[in-house]
C-alpha cells in the first residue's frame, strides 16, 4: 500500500436537486492523501463541507454525490451497505464537527458518552474501557478524575472540543475529518485545539482532513493545503509554500485577513467574491 492510498478521491461531483433543476456544488474534484495532515480551505459555498460529508457517506436528499472512485484504505466507499458504513464510520473514519455543544448529548455525562463510543465499536472489559478513557482524556489534556463526571454544559468550548476529539480518537481511527472544528472558539482556544489535534494525529500516524475557512491558521497546523472555490480545487500546495502561491484567489485569501499590522491600510479583496 503506497503512502497516498489512505484516501483516494477521483472525479467527485456533488449536486443538489431543487425541483427539476440539478445544481452542481462540487465539480469533479480529485485528490489523494496518506497518513498526513491535509487542509481543505474555502469560503461559504465553496463545497468544502459537503465534500467532507460525502466522504463519510452522510449526504442526504436533496444532495447527491457521484464519484469515479472513492476509496478509503483500499476499500471502495461507493459499494458500502448502510450496515458496513456504520462499522467504518466512528471506528476507522471519524468526524469532528464545528460546535461541541450540538455534537455531545446534553443529558449524559462525558464518561458515559466516551464509554458508549468504545462499546459500539469494540468488545472490551469494563476495567479496560475505564483505563482507555482515562488515557485518552489525559492525551487531550483533560483531567481523567474530574471530567468523566461532568455534563456537556459544564464544559467550556475548548474543553468540549477536546472531549469530542477524545471520543473520535478513542477507537484508533485511520482518518479524522474535522469540519471547522474550532470556529466556535476564540482565537487562543482555537490554536490550542488545532495544535493538539495536529500533534495527536501525527503521533498516531493517522490522516487528518481539516476543513476550514482560515488559510493562515491551517497553514500552521497542516502539511498540505487544497484551496476550494465554487466547487473546484483551484490551487494546492505545501502549507509552507502557501505565502508564495501564484494563484490569485489563494493570494487574496492569504492577504485579506485583518490584523493590527494592517491598521490604516486597505485590505485586498477577492475580485469575484460576490459579496
Amino acid at each position: 500500500m503506497s503512502d497516498d492510498s489512505l484516501l483516494s478521491v477521483r472525479a467527485l461531483s456533488i449536486r443538489v436537486r431543487s425541483g427539476r433543476d440539478l445544481k452542481t456544488v462540487v465539480d469533479s474534484i480529485s485528490f489523494d492523501m496518506g497518513a498526513e495532515r491535509v487542509a481543505v480551505v474555502g469560503e461559504s459555498g465553496s463545497g468544502k463541507s459537503v465534500t467532507a460529508r460525502a466522504l463519510l457517506g452522510l449526504l442526504r436528499e436533496p444532495l447527491e454525490a457521484r464519484a469515479e472512485r472513492l476509496a478509503f484504505a483500499g476499500r471502495d466507499l461507493n459499494e458500502l451497505t448502510p450496515a458496513e458504513w456504520s462499522r467504518v464510520r466512528g471506528a476507522r473514519l471519524a468526524l469532528v464537527l464545528q460546535d461541541p455543544r450540538h455534537a455531545l448529548n446534553p443529558v449524559l455525562r462525558v464518561g458515559r458518552q466516551l464509554d458508549e463510543s468504545l462499546r459500539i465499536h469494540q468488545r472490551l472489559a469494563a476495567a479496560e474501557r475505564r483505563r482507555r478513557i482515562a488515557a485518552m482524556l489525559d492525551a487531550v489534556g483533560l483531567s481523567a478524575q474530574r471530567v468523566p463526571d461532568l455534563y456537556p454544559h459544564q464544559l467550556s468550548g475548548g474543553m468540549g472540543q477536546r472531549v469530542m476529539l477524545a471520543m473520535m480518537l478513542i477507537n484508533d481511527p485511520k482518518l479524522l475529518i474535522a469540519d471547522e472544528p474550532t470556529s466556535a472558539l476564540d482565537t487562543e482556544a482555537s490554536d490550542q485545539v488545532l495544535e493538539l489535534m495536529s500533534r495527536l494525529v501525527a503521533e498516531r500516524r493517522m490522516g487528518l482532513l481539516l476543513i476550514s475557512h482560515d488559510l493562515r491558521q491551517v497553514a500552521r497546523h497542516c502539511d498540505r493545503v487544497l484551496v476550494m472555490h465554487r466547487g473546484r480545487i483551484v490551487d494546492q500546495s505545501d502549507a509552507s509554500e502557501l505565502a508564495n502561491s501564484r494563484h490569485p484567489y489563494t493570494r487574496a485569501l492569504w492577504a485579506c485577513k485583518p490584523s493590527a499590522a494592517t491598521y490604516g491600510t486597505v485590505l485586498p479583496v477577492v475580485a469575484d467574491a460576490g459579496g
Partner: protein, 230 residues
C-alpha cells in the same frame, strides 16, 4: 471632545428569579472621530454596553452623555439623538425585514424621521456602500450575506449619524467579504466624519480597525489599549 461619556454604568438582568450584574459601575470615554473597539469574551457585557449606548437597552443606572446630551434611563431617545446615533447588528439575516424590499427598508428610517426621500437619494446611499442601485427592488433573501450587511450599513448612514455603533458587524461573513466591509467602514468614517464604536470578539478585526480599544471582563473595563499597545 468626547462623544461618549459614561460614569458608573450598571446593568442588572433578571431571568427566572436570578439577577445577574451584567455591567458593574463602568466608566468609558470615547473621543470624537475615533474608531473605538470593545473586545472581550462572550458574556463580558460588551454587547449590553453597546445596546445601552444605542438606547435599545434602557434599564440601567449611572450617568450617560452622548454627543453632549444627557441620556436618561428608561426613556427612549428623542429629537436629534434618534438620527445621530445609529446601530448595525451582527446578523444581516435577522436585521432586515424579510418581506420588505431593500427600497422599503431604506425608506423607513427617512419616513420615521420626517425626512423627504427620493429614489435618487436611495440610489446614492446604495452606491456609497458599493451596491448597484438596481438592488433596491430585491428582497433580502435574494442578496448574499455581505450585500445584506452593506444594506444595513447604508440604512444607518442615510440619517447622517454622528455616532455609529456596530455589534460584531463582520463575524457572520467570510474573510474576503469581511475585508470588503472593513474597508467600507474605514472609508465612511472619513467621508461622514463619524465616531464608530465596534464590538468584536476578534482581536484581529479590532487591531485592524480601531484607534483605541477597551478590553472588557466580567462587566467591567479591564484596561484601555492605545494604538501602540494593540
Amino acid at each position: 471632545m468626547n462623544v461618549i461619556e459614561v460614569q458608573a454604568l450598571s446593568v442588572r438582568l433578571s431571568a427566572n428569579g436570578v439577577t445577574q450584574h451584567v455591567l458593574k459601575s463602568l466608566d468609558l470615554e470615547v473621543r470624537a472621530g475615533e474608531i473605538f473597539g470593545l473586545v472581550g469574551r462572550s458574556g463580558c457585557g460588551k454587547s449590553t454596553l453597546l445596546r445601552v449606548l444605542a438606547g435599545v437597552h434602557r434599564q440601567w443606572e449611572g450617568q450617560v452623555r452622548l454627543l453632549d446630551r444627557s441620556v436618561l434611563p428608561r426613556r427612549r431617545f428623542t429629537g436629534a439623538l434618534r438620527r445621530d446615533v445609529q446601530m448595525v447588528f451582527q446578523d444581516p439575516y435577522a436585521s432586515l425585514h424579510p418581506l420588505h424590499t431593500i427600497e422599503r427598508t431604506l425608506r423607513e428610517p427617512l419616513a420615521v424621521n420626517g425626512i423627504a426621500d427620493s429614489r435618487a437619494r436611495l440610489s446614492r446611499a446604495l452606491e456609497e456602500v458599493r451596491l448597484a442601485p438596481s438592488l433596491a427592488d430585491r428582497y433580502p433573501h435574494e442578496l448574499s450575506g455581505g450585500q445584506r450587511q452593506r444594506v444595513a450599513i447604508a440604512r444607518a448612514l442615510l440619517l447622517n449619524p454622528k455616532l455609529l455603533l456596530l455589534d460584531e458587524p463582520t463575524s457572520a461573513l467570510d474573510l474576503s467579504v469581511q475585508a470588503e466591509v472593513l474597508n467600507l467602514l474605514n472609508q465612511v468614517k472619513v467621508s461622514h466624519r463619524m465616531t464608530l464604536v465596534l464590538v468584536s470578539h476578534d482581536r484581529d478585526v479590532i487591531g485592524h480597525l480601531c484607534d483605541r480599544a477597551a478590553v472588557m471582563q466580567s462587566g467591567g473595563i479591564e484596561r484601555v489599549l492605545e494604538r501602540h499597545e494593540m
